[in-house]
Symmetry: C3
Subunit: 342 residues, 3 copies
């Protein structure tokens, strides 16, 4: 059911210590931890002996010892010790997952074959801490992955669900442009709002007052990576033809969408900005605001899951604002078909 | 499964404001609210766009605006606005339900066709506030509708489940008379207890001491309306042949039985009395006592649902006290058959 | 599914009063109580009238009165009164279960036929309070009976799950001997650890310091009775050929394993010791320690049930330490087959 031959965000690096974290990713239980050398290790979270979660075990040096009967695994998942005997059964190894730490996020390759590094999303704005400052977090949503995709691809909901923070009437009323690039596997949604009110989220951080130009350019790379280029600028000062855009404030808004089960999803987020660098007060403001925005989405999707999953054949009435979401659904369906499912 | 061509109590009028109430009635989610003109509106609680509950939306004037993307509906369920475009899709309307406010209760017609006003129960004692004072409330029971019907039709349980408030030994031991009137669709159960102890519920409110005559005359109008005529009088002073009954205290005990899902039911109740009119202290006493009685029923039926639903083929042993409940079951079955179910 | 022609622990005698206890045993709801004569009575916990749990009723004299409509039962389950009439329907009786109180435990015969007294386990150490002092308790585990059998038959888990109380490295590393006696229906597991560290559980109670000989001899009588003979002695002082063993401290550790449902089990436990007789402080210490140990098992099995029941085909990798558990499983399977299941 899942598009497993892909990279997904598995954890915030800040979550990982020698006390293993148990996370269910694409239906699989994974134990993620740092061993005492600091290396991040992700193993199947089930001991081959009697099925006990390895995440309840103990990291000793570079190895993980099961908390029930002591089966012991190295960072490749190889079983290196069992209790009461020297011979180690050949079937006692567990799966290990390729992981990459990049900025605040730890990515996991969930495919069965070799990890394809070329598919790993690049998030330079989260890594270049000299020119960009960022905050972030993660929420679990008890709703299907698809509902989160719908949510993020149609930002008209900001006007109603997030009014007071990022929503103004113009987000819902401004027409969008949509591009679906099948080859590079990206869906783009452009919403350029010129001479509109600046919502609190940006007025408080940029200091701009009155009307602004506010652009929202989405790049969604299915299945699990979403980037919103947000541009806030004084009215009538577009970027120069060479791309220079000194009058504008830029924010990159990242989402890592990681299916947990068929009906739950992790919602990793990060905000990177090219202004107020290293400003702790702005960090705290943005973290608090965005945590509130994400919680509004969580609450809405949780109830939507309950309501729509029990009435599977909800007849949707789609309109122009839905073209981004519908493009994303088509691309996901194409990727699913391409996997060779019957 | 439900007898939908009927009126059911949907809400207490006191529950309804411009903040919509979400209530599941006969399996259907309904958003009920007063618009800013004060009119009570009941709409299907699911936006046709992406399925979001309309009850989470906002009433603006006489219209309801969906809290997710702003689809807007008037009091007939007609969609009058969508975001980002002027054209409104023809499929964007939602069902509206006929509602009638009558005394403290708001009734809803759940049938697909035109509301049949002739089927709306009449509750004059709840409307004539000059000669009758009333209190009321509502409880949700996690048990099938049938269990509540059984409970209310066999009052012998008062002796055991409600002892200390309304139960005395005579309720269980006094033989009953039962009449089932198929034409007018009423089941009647008569229990006339003469020269018996007066339970606290009535001794405290009527001031009668020692023995009393206590009559309980049930009129159940399946599926959703139940009325208990309760008569408390000094011993040996029956009503006169012309119906005059000046020596007696009368209480009308109403239940609105509204299936929520297959295994849950709303239990609306109201008590009207022709004595101690406008006596706030008696109001508070009766409200507190009856809330306690209803909670005893809720607790009993909740556990009964858990126990009996897992053992579907419980072999019931029925006795004489069950004749009222068995009559009610037969009438409900007849009504169900008459609906043309295969 | 259950091996019902057996005795199981149903309750601690200390749990039983005239307020009935509701306990689900081998899937059957049972109401257990002492009547006013002090006799322990166990009846099917479902009134034949409308299915209400009899455990919510009231004991009056030697009888139990249903809390809903007053059907009344004597200690044999015979219905002796119903409300509103003198004739008692012949089908109104409920099943009663044979029970035996023996030391702190109340055993129940769950078979359909006559209780076989010869199958009742003998627990003399729990009855002989002159030479043995004991403490005990009960926990409910939301895990299948099989997982508790696995747990108790393989004590190597003490090293990892119960380290700090009863676990030391030698429990896991010491080889075991296993005997399965099909005729007398006992699985025995011997683990004799000589000259090993004394865990806190025993050092604090025996006063022994430094190395000790520690023997763990399990006798498991499937399905529901488990006894661990624990022997702690100064190094190199084995029992004499005639069985005399004056230098050693003996503890008998009992478990009553009583399936509640297919996926939950009661874990009754008791500890009897032949030292520090009637020492309240040692009682409290052991009760606290063992309650902690049992809770560690409960937590582990609860999570194991969730994890393994959703992945039914966990491929187990068994090793030498598992031979006791595997023997137990085989004997349980044989007993199940012998019942004549297809």
């Amino acid at each position: 059911m899942f598009l497993s031959d892909n990279w997904y965000v598995a954890a915030l690096g800040a979550e990982l210590t020698t006390k293993p974290l148990s996370r269910q990713i694409l239906g699989e239980h994974v134990a993620i931890f740092r061993n005492e050398s600091g290396r991040i290790v992700a193993l199947a979270d089930q001991c081959p002996h009697r099925g006990y979660p390895l995440s309840l075990g103990t990291v000793v040096g570079d190895e993980l010892v099961c908390g029930y009967h002591g089966f012991t695994f190295d960072c490749t998942g190889t079983c290196v010790a069992v209790p009461g005997q020297d011979r180690i059964p050949s079937r006692a190894d567990v799966r290990s997952y390729a992981v990459v730490e990049q900025g605040p996020w730890v990515w996991i390759w969930t495919g069965r074959g070799e990890a394809e590094m070329s598919l790993l999303p690049s998030t330079p704005w989260l890594v270049d801490t000299e020119n960009w400052s960022s905050v972030g977090g993660v929420a679990k949503i008890d709703a299907a992955f698809d509902l989160l995709v719908d949510n993020l691809l149609d930002l008209s909901h900001e006007t109603f669900l997030h009014n007071g923070s990022i929503g103004t009437p113009e987000v819902a009323s401004t027409p969008i442009e949509v591009e679906a690039d099948e080859d590079s596997r990206v869906v783009r949604v452009f919403r350029h709002m010129n001479s509109v009110d600046c919502p609190l989220f940006y007025s408080r951080t940029t200091g701009l007052e009155g009307k602004v130009d506010r652009w929202q350019d989405i790049e969604y790379s299915p299945p699990g990576y979403y980037l919103l280029h947000s541009r806030i600028a004084p009215v009538g000062q577009p970027p120069l033809p060479d791309g220079t855009d000194d009058h504008a404030f830029h924010m990159k808004i990242f989402y890592g969408l990681t299916p947990s089960t068929e009906d739950s999803v992790y919602d990793f987020w990060a905000l990177a900005r090219d202004f107020c660098i290293n400003d702790d007060e702005i960090d705290r403001f943005l973290e608090k605001m965005q945590t509130g925005v994400v919680q509004e989405d969580v609450d809405a999707l949780n109830i939507l899951q309950i309501r729509t999953s029990r009435v599977p054949e909800v007849n949707e009435v789609s309109i122009k604002i839905d073209r981004g979401g519908l493009s994303a659904r088509r691309m996901l369906a194409t990727m699913s078909d391409a996997r060779g499912h019957p």
